[in-house]
Amino acid sequence: MPVQNFENLDTNTDVTTTRTLLHEVIPLTGTIISGAYSDANIKNYTHGMFQSVYDYPYLSSSANHIFDITAGYDETSILSASTSTQNTKKINLYNQYSQVLLGYTGSTTDGVRKFENDLTLDGTGAMKECFFFSFSRLLVKDQIKKGSFSLSLGTGSWATPFAGNVKVYQDISASATTNTNNTVGGDYGLLYLSGGANRVEGVVFYQAGIVVLSSSVWSGVSDFYSGSAFSYSPAETLVSASISGSADALRHRIQNLSFNNTTEINSKIYFCRVPHNKYNYSSNPTYTSGSKIRVKEVASDTPRAYITTVGLYNSQNELLATAKLSEPLMKDPSNELILRVRLDY
């Protein structure tokens, strides 16, 4: 720091803050989710409560966790029965998601809110049998960008799930300012079926990075989940298959999934004003050569300096940070400069 001139920053006029939204486009093709790695990128656990999806076989150190899948239903669902496979876990999972994301009603009996196909949370349009996607923070960052989520699902047969009708669900009405509802789990928007005349069969929680999808998406599909000895509809899958089996069935029918994420970058901007009669000289050792200013051709010329660095000091004149210019900036008594220093954090 050769030059040690200080200019006081006026916090009212020289300092301001700003916020920038940095986004990433996140496309997840169905081949990653099901098929490309023969399920070596799918991790099941002994507790059997959810299934993790990685973008590469998870035994490799290169793999990133991208999301978890699970399934569940409310205890008032017609699917809820003690004979159902993993009945308690499915109920508990539904309730856990709904408690964390939606909170409670005033009722003393069943006080947990249920997921609904609208933004009112008035008890109507409840989605009681659901699949849940819980996206990794690596992908969601601060939040999913409102209005950018889309999910394409195959509703054909088990053998050719995408040969028939592919349903595309989007939070098409949601934006940063409208058509979302704020709950204890953050903002959520509705997943509309494209061309489906306002048919809503899921919700997306933007800050939590969670998507709730009703099993009614596949209503009428008789072989939602199929194997050599069984063929289940969505309801039969939720009743008779394990949670990991339900997750397998769901993955088999995901054609594409994409969204944009958002990272908020908060910045403080310092306007560093360089008056015309200051900073025209440098105490850099290379500034002079043989008692002459190196950057002056003629002795009678005005003094001149090249600004390369701005230092930010605290009130005790301790250097806190330096800002470098992309190229040196010529300064002489005939010009004034305002250097805009932005500090991101």
């Binding site: 700003t18 916020r19 920038t20 939204l21 940095l22 986004h23 990433e24 486009v25 996140i26 496309p27 093709t29 081949t31 990653i32 490309a36 790695y37 973008d55 590469y56 490799s60 290169s62 793999a63 990133n64 992908l139 209005g147 950018s148 989520f149 889309s150 595309v168 989007q170 098409i172 494209s194 994409s258 969204f259 944009n260 970058i265 910045s267 290379t286 992309s326």
Partner: protein
């Protein structure tokens, strides 16, 4: 939940130093970092989408091919929608905050492109991965101030280091651009750049080792034995060259600058071009390390050479350590609803003016009994699962979660040590 104030002796900060070991092996036009082999993917040529020997900054897009899907995200497109290339990609809108990526635009660079090629509201879309690896540059021709400006990027990169080289001459005259040991403005130079992501703050002095391997045997090694940046030949097939200084290391900048032109072997191979064979020397150390040289523009005999670059990095991490004390008789209650016995009525009396809780709400007894069908005596126990760190205005700043909930009985003292890397 109760607040406890950190006292003077509960919070301190220190610096944690680490010395990550770095090993580059250069062979046949490829660089290998810490012996990590090439990984080919099943959907993409490289799993990490980065050349072997490179670090991928965020390690996104694992095994993902670049596909022109022709779609946008969201699907309906519009002016604010980025293009979907099948890979995760960053994007930003040009707005009044004037944030941007470091380089933007197809027809110009930097600020010019940002100002001239984009309207407000336009999408600036980048690409992942962002990678880094070592680079070898062969600097030839005169770069002196008297013979004009540098004519190519290799010369410009050297000229940018002139001031630092002269600055380090207090450590060793071998740094100095013009010294009794030669004039670097005129000498042929072999410059190897190591990005700082590999070493952190600086290359650790005394840890550098360069090995020249020829037909499977080491023919010479350089070490910075004096820790002053001089690279001294310590063992060679031609032992008369041992003890000579073949170049310098710029520890802070991550630059290895080699000038040693003596022969390391009497067998000549094609290390510079495919017409003239040259004897191995330190000027040809690292041929193939991202310098554009490979079997197609050299000769197949150059694969008899391989190179080892070893050093330790130096990283400094500031660490704040906080001690959170849970004294006996304190931290013995929880606001968790399950802390109380289920099914109790919590309110004694409520009206439009009064809300009164019952004074005799029972705490759930969680003391484990050693006997079956026998409830242990009540003891006020809690399980500490997390510790919140608040600022002076009681804003939650951070949360420390213990790996397993810690049972705290009323008569026990606990101190939790929280460490925060900053």
């Amino acid at each position: 939940m109760s607040f406890k104030k950190f006292t003077e002796n509960d919070v301190f900060s220190n610096t944690m130093r680490s010395y990550p070991k770095v090993d580059f092996f250069v062979f046949d036009g490829k660089t290998y970092y810490n012996n990590i082999p090439e990984q080919s993917g099943s959907r993409n040529a490289e799993v990490r989408n980065a050349p072997v020997g490179s670090i991928s900054l965020y390690e996104f897009n694992i095994d993902r091919p670049y596909v022109a899907t022709g779609t946008k995200v969201p699907l309906e497109g519009g002016p604010g929608a980025p293009t979907n290339f099948g890979r995760i990609a960053p994007w930003i809108s040009k707005d009044s905050a004037r944030s941007s990526f470091k380089t933007v635009g197809a027809n110009a660079v930097g600020e010019t492109a940002y100002n001239s090629e984009f309207q407000y509201g336009d999408i600036l879309q980048g690409q992942y991965p962002l990678t880094a690896s070592i680079t070898r540059e062969f600097v030839t021709g005169s770069r002196s101030a008297t013979t004009g400006y540098p004519v190519n990027k290799e010369q410009r990169h050297f000229v940018a280091l002139r001031n630092r080289l002269n600055f380090y001459s207090v450590r060793s005259l071998h740094y100095k651009v013009s010294s009794p040991y030669g004039n670097k403005d005129e000498q042929t130079l072999n410059m190897i750049s190591v990005p700082s992501i590999f070493y952190g703050t600086k290359i650790e002095p005394g840890s550098v080792s360069l090995k020249w391997n020829f037909t499977g045997s080491m023919i010479a090694e350089l070490r910075d034995l004096r820790e002053n940046g001089e690279l001294i030949q310590v063992s060679g097939a031609i032992s008369s060259n041992d003890g000579k200084v073949a170049g310098v290391v710029m520890y802070d900048e991550g630059i290895i600058l080699l000038t040693g032109s003596w022969n390391l072997s009497t067998t000549a191979i094609h290390l510079r071009d495919n017409t003239t064979a040259v004897n191995p020397s330190w000027l040809y150390f690292g041929v193939g390390a991202n310098d554009g040289l490979n079997q197609s523009n050299l000769n197949t005999d150059y694969v008899s050479a391989s190179y080892d670059i070893n050093f330790k990095g130096h990283t400094e991490t500031q660490v704040v350590t906080m001690f959170a004390h849970a004294r006996r008789g304190e931290v013995n209650y929880s606001n968790n609803p399950t802390f109380l016995e289920h099914g109790q009525n919590h309110t004694e009396f409520t009206s439009s003016h009064v809300y009164e809780e019952r004074p005799d709400i029972r705490i759930k007894n969680i003391v484990s009994s050693s006997f079956s069908d026998y409830s242990a005596s009540f003891n006020r126990n809690v399980y500490v699962s997390r510790i919140g760190i608040y600022d002076k205005n009681k804003n939650l700043m951070g949360v420390a979660t213990v790996s397993n909930p810690i049972l705290k009985e009323e008569g026990q003292d606990y101190s939790f040590k929280l460490k925060l890397d900053i």
